[in-house]
């Protein structure tokens, strides 16, 4: 646990010491602020509908791009610079290294999503009554989604020799993950049952909308994110390990 915390602290500090992270944070805050105001205007001042809107459309565009950009350097760059060799010869397990990196990327995203909570606080100060239960669940759901996409980013970073390739692969994977269930839903009459079953199992958006979006904390949906994220970390660890075997 101590070594995990050491890795987590280092990675989080590393993110905040890089200019890219600040740029991404600024873009996210501006993006959320812009869409919140637009939604507020369109809904005629309906605070809860406007805050909820942020987790319907804008969130998914951001999670497709932000986690890949945050995680792209975490393994590929460290492999090249020799830092991964340093970490993997320190008294810390490979899994702890990977979980520490994942937790750092997810925490950064959690900070970025917390702008929605700040908006809720601001509108409350202005006299409105936001639904805090739903708002917090949506935020929590966004964090789970970010964790899953960060795990995908780590896999791609472990697979790639350069950060740019890692980001490209991760963004592509994220888009496929969005599009396959949507496509399967559209082609429900054409596709056979196994294909539909697989599409349902990887439908991230349906699991978010079915639980967190409604303000409910459903353990099955939480489990969905936890299992897929854990699988992602497991694969990233195995890829790093297999690269060591191959040299």
């Amino acid at each position: 646990m101590r070594s995990f915390l050491a890795i987590y602290r280092r990675e989080l500090a590393g993110l905040f010491l890089a200019p890219l992270a600040w740029i991404l944070l600024c873009v996210t805050l501006f993006y959320n602020g812009f869409f919140f105001l637009a939604a507020l205007e369109q809904s005629g001042g309906n605070v809860n509908a406007s805050l909820g809107y942020l987790h319907r459309g804008p969130l998914w565009y951001l999670v497709a791009f932000l986690p890949p950009l945050l995680t792209m350097r975490m393994i590929s760059e460290e492999t090249r610079s020799g830092l991964l060799e340093f970490l993997l010869t320190a008294p810390v397990s490979d899994t702890a290294v990977m979980i520490g990196k994942l937790a750092a990327a997810t925490s950064f995203m959690a900070i970025a999503w917390s702008s929605v909570l700040v908006f809720g606080l601001v509108v409350q100060l202005l006299g409105a009554t936001p639904d805090w239960g739903q708002l917090c669940m949506e935020w929590l759901g966004a964090v789970f989604v970010s964790g899953l996409f960060s795990a995908i980013g780590l896999i791609c970073s472990a697979l790639s020799g350069t950060p740019l390739l890692a980001a490209f692969l991760a963004i592509l994977s994220n888009l496929v993950l969005f599009m396959v269930p949507t496509g399967a839903r559209m082609a429900r009459g054409v596709l056979h049952e196994p294909a539909l079953w697989i599409a349902d199992r990887i439908d991230v958006r349906a699991h978010f909308d079915g639980s967190f979006q409604t303000g409910a904390l459903d353990s099955s949906h939480v489990l969905f994110f936890v299992v897929w994220t854990a699988l992602g970390v497991f694969l990233a660890v195995r890829i790093v390990e297999s690269r060591r075997w191959m040299g």
């Binding site: 101590r2 602290r9 590393g14 020799g82 320190a90 060591r244 040299g247």
Partner: protein, 383 residues
């Protein structure tokens, strides 16, 4: 402290480390020597557990590197060749991170950081950004990071690369100090340095151990015989050869002919017989111009390995005289080549003197004419 048994590492069809075995005791400082691609870094990486071995067994401090990897890592301080440092962090932050990885308390970590920074001469740079440091300074910070957990075993891959001569001396002294209660395994291409620091050397060549022992052992094992070069004005060369041959410890004496008014001799002996030769020259009233002990250096042996020459097949090996005579006989080189004077007259580049060490890869000795090598390195004269 370190035990390596039949270690093999393959990368696809390429065998980087081929069945090597050695062991290091506590307090031993051992230098890894070998040309690029010899397998030094691969072996070091396997010792740290970073690379798994294809075959064989490694134990560090009594723990198997693969099965008890975390215990091994706690005992190890490792400085890879590419010094791994987070360039965006300050020196003290990097050390604090290493302290946390090794489970040191904040106070202990800070104390150790101050100690190791002072040891590597970076005590005044702990607030500096690593990215702003020079290569040599980063190297020293890397060394401090490796030393911070006070490891029992230190593995240093090229620890002095990028350092200036003064810093090298400091690091060399530091390694000597550390060796008091640690096992140190280091690799370096700076041979005088590795010779100065490491009492024991392991020479790797093409993934195999070419030699293992002290510097003198290696010179003896890989090199050729040593001899005393003696040049003096002597009235009778044959008599001089006879007298020199009678000195204790002398195996044989070669007469290399006149160099101006001086006659040049090579007195082949495993021991340094300069004092005896000097005393003989004084007693006989020979005006001596040169009296030096010639022995192959580690650097020459290393260069021969790097050039892919098998040290045992020394093309410029010292040729032995006919056993019965125990006097100077011409070597194959003398038979095959015109004399130095003739070469100079013809504008031909000079070939190495018989018995000297040819490290030039473009100069290979021609086959002997009039003499045949019977395989024992001795060229027999057949007029």
């Amino acid at each position: 402290m370190i035990s390596v048994s039949h270690l093999v590492r393959r990368f696809g069809p390429f065998t980087a480390v081929d069945d090597i075995s050695f062991s290091l005791e506590r307090g031993e400082v051992v230098g890894f020597l070998g040309p690029n691609g010899a397998g030094k870094t691969t072996t070091m990486r396997m010792l740290t557990g970073f690379l798994p071995a294809s075959r064989g067994k490694i134990e560090v401090a009594g723990f198997d590197v693969l099965e008890r990897s975390l215990e091994v890592r706690r005992k190890l301080g490792y400085l890879p060749e590419a010094v791994p440092l987070y360039r965006e962090h300050r020196v003290e932050e990097m050390l604090a991170f290493q302290a946390r990885l090794h489970g040191l308390s904040r106070a202990d970590g800070k104390r150790r950081a101050d100690e190791v920074l002072a040891r590597v001469g970076m005590g005044d740079r702990k607030r500096s950004l690593i990215g702003k440091l020079s290569k040599g300074q980063r190297q020293r910070v890397g060394l401090a990071v490796a030393l911070l957990p006070d490891p029992e075993v230190l593995i240093l891959d090229e620890p002095t690369s990028g350092l200036d001569p003064l810093q090298r001396i400091e690091v060399r002294n530091l390694i000597r100090e550390l060796a008091a209660n640690r096992t140190v395994l280091l690799s370096s291409h700076i041979l005088p340095e590795i010779e100065a620091v490491c009492p024991r050397l392991i020479v790797l060549h093409k993934g195999r151990i070419a030699a293992d022992g002290t510097s003198d052992d290696l010179v003896r094992e890989l090199g050729r015989e040593t001899f005393v070069a003696f040049e003096a004005v002597v009235p009778d060369a044959a008599e001089a050869v006879r007298l020199l041959s009678t000195l204790p410890g002398v195996d044989r004496v070669r007469d290399n002919g006149l160099v101006g008014i001086h006659r040049s001799f090579e007195i082949v002996s495993n021991d340094d017989v300069r004092e005896d030769v000097g005393a003989l020259a004084a007693a006989k009233g020979w005006a001596a111009r040169e009296l030096s002990w010639q022995r192959p250096t580690l650097e020459q042996l290393f260069a021969r390995l790097a050039l892919g020459l098998d040290p045992a097949d020394a093309p410029d090996a010292v040729a032995a005289p006919a056993p019965a005579a125990s006097v100077a006989q011409p070597t194959f080189a003398e038979h095959a080549l015109p004399t130095l004077d003739a070469n100079l007259a013809l504008g031909v580049p000079a070939e190495p003197k018989p018995g000297s060490y040819n490290l030039n890869p473009f100069v290979t000795p021609p086959p002997a004419e009039g003499g045949a090598d019977d395989g024992d390195g001795v060229c027999e004269d057949r007029p």
